[in-house]
Subunit: 555 residues, 2 copies
């Protein structure tokens, strides 16, 4: 008798584990796969010249006949930014809330992608996709219309929190649906996938509303123009800026492409309420005295091409900083951006502006749950198994510890990585065989054509530059006809190092003569002799290791 293998529910994170960014998770049962989110990530310092990083979707493409659609939890780039790339390779219906789809729609238009099926859902909706019944659950986050997902599968219920916080006093928004979460928890949850971003922080994340109180305070004292920079997608923050501006009777000007874009979508869809006549065109700004203006803009991470950075460097076409301007940076530095942001702040101060930023006042709160909120989520849902997601390894570890502190047995917690396959049956759970996962690098129009070798070369070039040695040689006699010529870039300031370069040429000449004496006519050997000899000479002289490229031209 042949024993039938029991059918397995598979949960496969392809991104977002061991990193903050490019979130994407697959849920698979028999002939059905759904994808939760498809984000992008910004390159780290080692990924020189890379524009964005997207997930490796080899497994999705291999199983494309099974894939039923992409379910979106919210409209942040690390959850929707990978969509244009995946949708170019495989046409899939999308499911998400109104604002999320609004942002996706404008993103797809930008990439010239047409014909994608956008299915709008609302919190408390239930959707049947393949064998899965998906409930959408309202959560709070730093963008409106965020949802968690309860996915009812034949093996049990999977809850994915998406990104969330618990905000009892949200702005233009409902409180996270604790009742629905409690209900789902009562009925039994097989496995929880939960946001780990802020797991290191004790206590509760402050309510978004506290920022509004700070704004009110600052706006009421301000005597000059006010410029506020924040994330374009933080519609609640923008609402509070508008509210405070309204309180002190100021007009609002918007600058920055993504800010204009998101505000248009948000106003149109009813997520942002701006009083009639309050929003004025940037070209009409001069008609108002500066103390009656608030400018809402991008650039809170110091991005060099952002509107705020252009203002700081007098490169903005419409807005010039005036001494006395009050600039509010309403954001935290994302790790890695600190130096850039502080550089921008210094520059703004030097232009005569006053700058208020997180170190000086409470002008920002996080959008992610701290420890006590995470405990609430775990307690309401009472999952049997737990997979911490949305975090670097340290966050996942800390989150696993938190679950253990709440009484979950260690063996029911899975710290997974991108490409892990978690398998669940009626009887148990465990790791299966990994599937391909990793970083796909986007550089210009090239997707995945920049790999480790190219990055290693860029790194080498960036540190010590390069030296090119060119020689023209006769094919028949194996003799030098012209050269060696030496060209360098990013190595030394040539005019001040003429001696060094002249001597380097002599070194190569000697190497070539010696090769000729020894009848070395194999050009690979010739090249490697030139490279090694020059490398030793240069390092001995100034302790640098430029890339050395010998080129032989054959005539």
């Amino acid at each position: 008798m042949v024993s039938r293998k029991p059918a397995k529910l598979k949960i496969i994170p392809l991104g977002g584990l061991g990193e903050i960014g490019k979130n994407i998770t697959l849920i698979e049962y028999k002939e059905d796969i759904i994808i939760i989110d498809c984000g992008m990530m910004f390159p780290d310092d080692e990924m020189l010249g890379i524009d964005v990083v997207i997930p490796d979707i080899t497994y999705v493409l291999k199983n494309k006949d099974k894939v039923r659609g992409i379910i979106l939890t919210h409209g942040h780039e690390d959850h929707i930014g990978g969509l244009p790339y995946i949708l170019k390779k495989i046409k899939l219906p999308l499911y998400g809330t109104k604002l999320t789809l609004g942002l996706v729609d404008s993103k797809l238009k930008e990439h010239g992608i047409q014909g994608v099926e956008l299915n709008e859902v609302k919190a408390r909706d239930t959707l049947k996709i393949g064998c899965f019944n998906i409930e959408f659950i309202k959560v709070n986050h730093s963008i409106p219309d965020s949802v968690a997902l309860a996915i009812h599968t034949p093996i049990g219920t999977v809850v994915h929190t998406g990104d969330f916080k618990v905000d009892y006093t949200p702005i233009n928004d409902e409180v996270i649906d604790l009742h629905q979460l409690a209900e789902v928890g009562s009925k039994g949850v097989l496995v929880l996938l939960c946001d780990s971003t802020n797991v290191e922080r004790p206590g509760y994340t402050m309510s978004e509303r506290t920022v509004g109180a700070t704004f009110n305070d600052i706006f009421q004292k301000a005597k000059d123009r006010i410029i506020v920079a924040t994330f374009a997608s933080n519609v609640h923050r923008i609402q509070q800026i508008v509210n405070s501006a309204s309180l002190v009777n100021r007009k609002v000007v918007v600058s920055g492409r993504s800010m204009v874009n998101v505000m248009n979508v948000a106003i149109e869809d009813g997520y942002l309420n701006v009083p009639e006549g309050m929003l004025i065109d940037i070209n009409d700004m001069d008609k108002y005295p500066k103390e009656e203006l608030v400018i809402i803009t991008t650039g809170s991470q110091g991005e060099p091409m952002s509107a705020l950075a252009r203002m700081a460097h007098s490169e903005h076409k419409k807005i010039e900083l005036i001494p006395g301007d009050l600039v509010i940076i309403s954001a935290s530095p994302i790790p890695g951006n600190e130096k850039t942001i502080y550089g921008l702040i210094n520059q703004l101060f030097q232009k005569g502006a006053n700058v208020i930023y997180e170190a000086l006042a409470d002008v920002h709160v996080s959008g992610h749950a701290c420890q006590e909120e995470l405990k609430l989520m775990h307690t309401l849902l009472k999952p049997k198994y737990f997979i911490p997601v949305h975090g670097e390894y340290r966050h996942l570890r800390r989150h696993a510890q938190l679950a253990q502190e709440l009484g979950m047995p260690k063996e029911n917690i899975f710290i997974a990585e991108n490409g892990s396959v978690l398998e669940f049956t009626k009887n148990g759970a465990g790791f299966g065989t990994n599937v391909p996962a990793g970083n796909v690098l986007v550089d210009g129009l090239g997707i995945g054509d920049v790999g480790n070798i190219v990055l290693r070369d860029r790194k080498h070039l960036s540190e010590d530059g390069l030296i090119i040695v060119v020689v023209t040689m006769s094919k028949q006699e194996g003799k030098v006809i012209s050269g060696p010529d030496i060209v360098s870039r990013g190595f030394v300031y040539v005019r001040e190092s003429e001696d060094l370069m002249e001597e380097a040429k002599e070194v190569v000449k000697n190497i070539l003569s010696e090769c000729e004496r020894n009848n070395i006519t194999d050009w690979a050997t010739l090249k490697s002799n030139m490279r090694d000899g020059l490398k030793d000479y240069i390092y001995g002289k100034i302790k640098r290791n430029p890339m050395i490229l010998p080129i032989i031209m054959e005539v």
Copy 2:
């Protein structure tokens, strides 16, 4: 009648303003100049391939006959790291406390610099150098033996705080000498130069002792090996690690070149007390059970070559991480290092270690004064004029504001920059004409030979790599004899982009043919045609801008 210009006291900061690093300040009166500190700075992200940054000392060299010596406030790299470079160019006596000179001495030996006069001073000493009478005043900081300076000049008293905090319960150290500061203040201070590092932080910096309490707590609960990473120069921190180890009867092992070096100097000079028999050789480590060991090590900033980073990547020759190891990172990330440190922490966790860092426990305190301590300093000294130092522009601005809040008139506060000349007479003060100042970049053995052009090229190369086009041409006929050959590095993974590279070659061939048809034999034009044509082709194809280097070999 010719009016004689009144003699001026000049204060000239050559480094440390508008930046955290490479602190150096000149005090000049008539024929005398003294230099306060001479530090280095680590390169920022834009200074690709640079090892360290030192101050421009053109003005010092130009006035070398006047310079009487260098007075050191403490032994941190941003105050003494530039010494080897300045002392190679100009021989000057040094003045500093015992530990400071101990660290300087080992630094000079490393650089092979001999014959420097090291003059040891103690807090409360007074020294006459040229026309200046210099009092040394005990302050607290994250390295022992730190002092502030009261420099009595013919125009008035200049106080330079050096780096300081107020610690009422320091470790193996005396409390900052508030009495002497008060005394100096009573006698009248013309101008104060004061540390601005922590001016954004309200309240007081915690006492170093609080970290000891945390260590005791952690050490008493720890069941496995303990590894603590901190700054080598933070002798008080090391003392507390030793104390906690002693409390739980553990032996201490030291790893990391600078840690071994500083601990040797500190023990020898009596700044660090280690109980007899407690310190064991790293080679004897295996003789002790792991729960009886504490390893003190470097790498708290995630430095890739540090002992801790080598442990994390299994590259340490003597120490292998064991699951269960407890690693304590006893430091804050210096802005810009966050990603590296978190990467190291993730790696340590992945090796099975438990990691405790600032986000999780109070394992670090700052060495710099917060707002209330700064107010105390200003209040005790009651200076007439104020120059905020040791800070980025935002810090200097905030510090100026703090002084104003304490009642100082705005016009008595000078926000200076590197190279500013502050001039003081009996009747007033103001800015004179700037002197040369800036960053001198050290790369390998080269000092100052890497400038903007080289850095711009490195940046360009790092982002999109390069394409080299080589053609051999006949001098007489102006015709192509060999080539074009195309070589690229850091551009695309060539094997996957063969078509692109082949087409690129065709593009160049066409350009060369067209030049031949048009009788263009001027090689500059030929090169620029090749460069422009290839640039347009490549950008059109994949939206990248590699550096393009056309080389013509003449035969």
